[in-house]
Structure formats: structure tokens, C-alpha cells
């Protein structure tokens, strides 16, 4: 009797511990928001002062038989994002100018979305003898789930840098990941923009 009791307790105890008490992670979608920034350690931001920025945000590119078409974020979302970027740049001492005014740097925002699919696949099998000679039977069961995340990317390049391939090296990059989800919560995006500049104090100009 004691053996059975011991064995039962061991099984029950372990099952209890493993079944429902493994710690969880994020509870809400904004718990997934992260802001990444990086910069060139040799680029002297302090000696610059003007920047140009487009008034639209590209979210996709369609190429049809060599013709390129840009897809832009709707103005209702793009306008406050561009305004937040401009406000942060102003606070750091930068002056926004038109692209024709030969700015020191270009600031280009873009939106990237990606959809991740999860596939679960398993099968059961039954030996044919159980079902009257059906033979080996592998009915597949496939479930698919997905989620879409988006990233707002901002880059700063110096168009005046001489390059043999006429391409400017990126001096600063910021990626605000997780914010461009289907709900388009503008406050999450704007908070991310602020964080990107907060964690980049080296952008300050003289």
C-alpha cells in the first residue's frame, strides 16, 4: 500500500508542478515593443546642423515589369509620426530644410511589416488489422496560425560623403519593432520614436 501511495504521490506531485505553473512572458502586445538604435562611432553628428526628410513614409514597394511603385502609409498615421520625428530632431538642435537646400544629412523613415506563420503538423496512425485491412493510414492534421508585426525604421545618411559607388553609408539607424501591428496604435509608435531619440544623445548638434 505504501509503495502505491509513494508512487502515486510522485506522479501527482510532478504532474502538478509541470502542468500549469511554468512562468509566462508578455501579457500584452505592447510588451513586445522594442527600440533598437545603432550609429557609426566615427561620424561627427555635432558638426552638422541641417537635415531633410520626406513628407511620406514608404511601407512597401511594388515592381511590375521594371516599373517601381512606392506604397505609402496613410497620412492619418504618417503625419503624426513625421511630426514626432521632426520635434525630436528640433529638440536636438537640427534644422529641417528642403532636399534642394543641400542638407547635411538625410533622415528617411520607412515601415516594414512581416507575417510569421506557425505550422503545426502531426499525424496518427492505425495498424490496418484494427480496421479491416485499411493498411497503414497517415491522416495529416495541419494547423496554421499567424501574426503580423511591423517595424518603423529610421536612418540618417550623409549625402555629401564621397563614395565610389554613389551610395551613402548609414550613420544612424533606429528600428522600432512590434508597433505597426494591425491595430496601428499611434501612441505606441510615437512613444517608440521618442525612445529612439532618447537613447541616441550623440545626435545632438552644436
Amino acid at each position: 500500500m505504501l509503495r502505491i501511495l509513494t508512487f502515486s504521490c510522485l506522479i501527482a506531485f510532478t504532474g502538478f508542478l509541470f502542468s500549469g505553473c511554468y512562468p509566462g512572458g508578455a501579457d500584452y502586445t505592447n510588451d513586445y515593443d522594442v527600440v533598437y538604435t545603432n550609429h557609426s562611432p566615427t561620424y561627427d553628428f555635432a558638426s552638422k546642423g541641417t537635415y531633410a526628410m520626406p513628407d511620406k513614409i514608404v511601407v512597401d514597394v511594388e515592381i511590375d515589369r521594371g516599373d517601381t511603385t512606392y506604397i505609402y502609409m496613410k497620412d492619418i498615421y504618417a503625419t503624426p509620426i513625421l511630426q514626432a520625428i521632426a520635434d525630436n530632431m528640433t529638440a536636438l538642435g537640427w534644422t529641417r530644410v528642403d532636399i534642394s537646400a543641400t542638407p547635411d544629412v538625410l533622415l528617411t523613415p520607412a515601415g516594414i511589416s512581416s507575417t510569421t506563420y506557425f505550422y503545426s503538423y502531426w499525424y496518427d496512425w492505425w495498424y490496418g488489422g484494427w480496421y479491416g485491412g485499411w493498411g497503414w493510414y497517415y491522416p495529416p492534421y495541419v494547423t496554421i496560425s499567424s501574426f503580423t508585426t511591423g517595424t518603423l525604421v529610421m536612418t540618417i545618411e550623409d549625402p555629401n560623403t564621397d563614395s565610389p559607388i554613389n551610395a551613402s553609408e548609414t550613420s544612424w539607424v533606429a528600428a522600432i519593432s512590434g508597433v505597426l501591428t494591425g491595430s496601428y496604435d499611434i501612441n505606441r509608435i510615437l512613444t517608440g520614436v521618442d525612445h529612439a531619440f532618447d537613447q541616441s544623445p550623440y545626435l545632438k548638434t552644436n
Partner: protein, 198 residues
């Protein structure tokens, strides 16, 4: 996680089978863990999720030899913060996990055999599997290691008349640096549970 579960279940079944031998003790304890050293720096929160199972074959009234295994998971949710390395900075909420699974050979020494309250000290040695995850956004940094491990312990058992005893013990698990860890992984557990004697 499945590998851990399967390993634990296998050892559990073996232990339960072995526990039917004469003059043996099987202890089943709930373990609250407190990280120390590098583990304590990584996760300062205590682990409320853990257990230990120990089987001992008594070679005399004072000495028991056997084996044990256990599991403690440490978890901590860090508030939104900025982490900088070189020129790169990353801000966000961070979720930290450390799974620790020691599998040890043990020897325990009982100081007061036959008395209602029996104090014991013990030492375990063997392997400890550690898996540490640092989650941000949809990504995780995973570090794994099988450590050579030592585990001293001290405890008391309080007998009752049903061939079992209540026990409370303190165990110190120390896994030497190995695998993805350049520092030792260690923690202390406070264990409470039952000892079944047969």
C-alpha cells in the same frame, strides 16, 4: 522543455520502482530557490517553482546512499529599460528565465537515528543542466550547459508513526562554469516535504 520533462519522468519512474526496496527513504520536497552569484545577478527574484526527489538506500542506521534529481525555474520580468553594448542600444521589456535541473549521487549522514527529530547532513555530486533564456520582442538569447555540480545540504526530519516523516532542509546547488556560461551557476533552496520509509 520536452527533453527535461521526459528525463524527469524517466528518472521518476526508476526512483519510484527502486523505492520499493527495504531500508530505503524517498523524499519528495517542494523547493523554493534563491539565486546566488551569477544566477542571482541575472534573476534576483526567488524561484517559487521547484521540487526535489531523493532516494536513499540505508547502508546503516546513520548513513544513506542514493541519488536525487530536481528542478527549479527562476523567472523575472524586467521593466522597460535600455541595454547598451558598444554603439548599439536596445530598449524594451525583458523576460528572463533560468531552468536548473540537477541529477546527483547523494550520501546523507543522520545524527539522531531512532529519535523523533533526526538531523542530517549530506553531499551530492553529479551533473546539473542549466538553460537560460533572455527574451525581448519575439526573440530569445538561449544559453545552455551541463555543469559538474556539488550540492551540500542540511536538514531535519520529524518522524510520525506511519513510516514517514516531515522534513525541512536547505540545499546549496553549485554548478561549475561550463558550456555557454563562463561563470558558475548556483542557488540555495529551502525544501519542505515528506520522507517515505520502507
Amino acid at each position: 522543455m520536452k527533453k527535461i520533462l521526459y528525463s524527469v519522468c524517466t528518472i521518476l519512474l526508476l526512483t519510484a520502482t527502486m523505492a520499493t526496496a527495504q531500508q530505503s527513504r524517498t523524499s519528495l520536497t517542494y523547493a523554493v530557490g534563491f539565486g546566488t552569484g551569477d544566477l542571482g545577478d541575472f534573476i534576483s527574484q526567488p524561484s517559487w517553482r521547484g521540487f526535489n526527489v531523493e532516494f536513499l538506500k540505508m547502508t546503516s542506521t546513520k548513513v544513506g546512499v542514493g541519488g536525487s534529481f530536481g528542478w527549479n525555474v527562476f523567472y523575472q520580468e524586467n521593466d522597460y529599460d535600455t541595454y547598451t553594448k558598444g554603439t548599439a542600444s536596445l530598449s524594451g521589456k525583458q523576460y528572463r528565465y533560468s531552468n536548473n535541473l540537477p541529477i546527483l549521487a547523494n550520501i546523507d549522514y543522520y545524527m539522531n537515528p531512532g529519535q523523533k527529530i533526526n538531523t542530517y547532513v549530506g553531499l551530492g555530486t553529479g551533473m546539473m543542466y542549466t538553460r537560460r533564456n533572455t527574451d525581448m520582442n519575439l526573440y530569445t538569447i538561449e544559453q545552455e550547459a551541463w555543469h559538474f555540480a556539488l550540492q551540500p545540504q542540511i536538514g531535519i526530519e520529524i518522524d510520525n508513526q506511519y513510516s514517514s516523516a516531515f522534513t525541512i532542509a536547505a540545499k546549496y546547488f553549485y554548478g561549475f562554469a561550463s558550456g555557454d556560461f563562463d561563470k558558475a551557476q548556483s542557488y540555495i533552496t529551502v525544501n519542505v516535504g515528506w520522507i517515505f520509509k520502507s
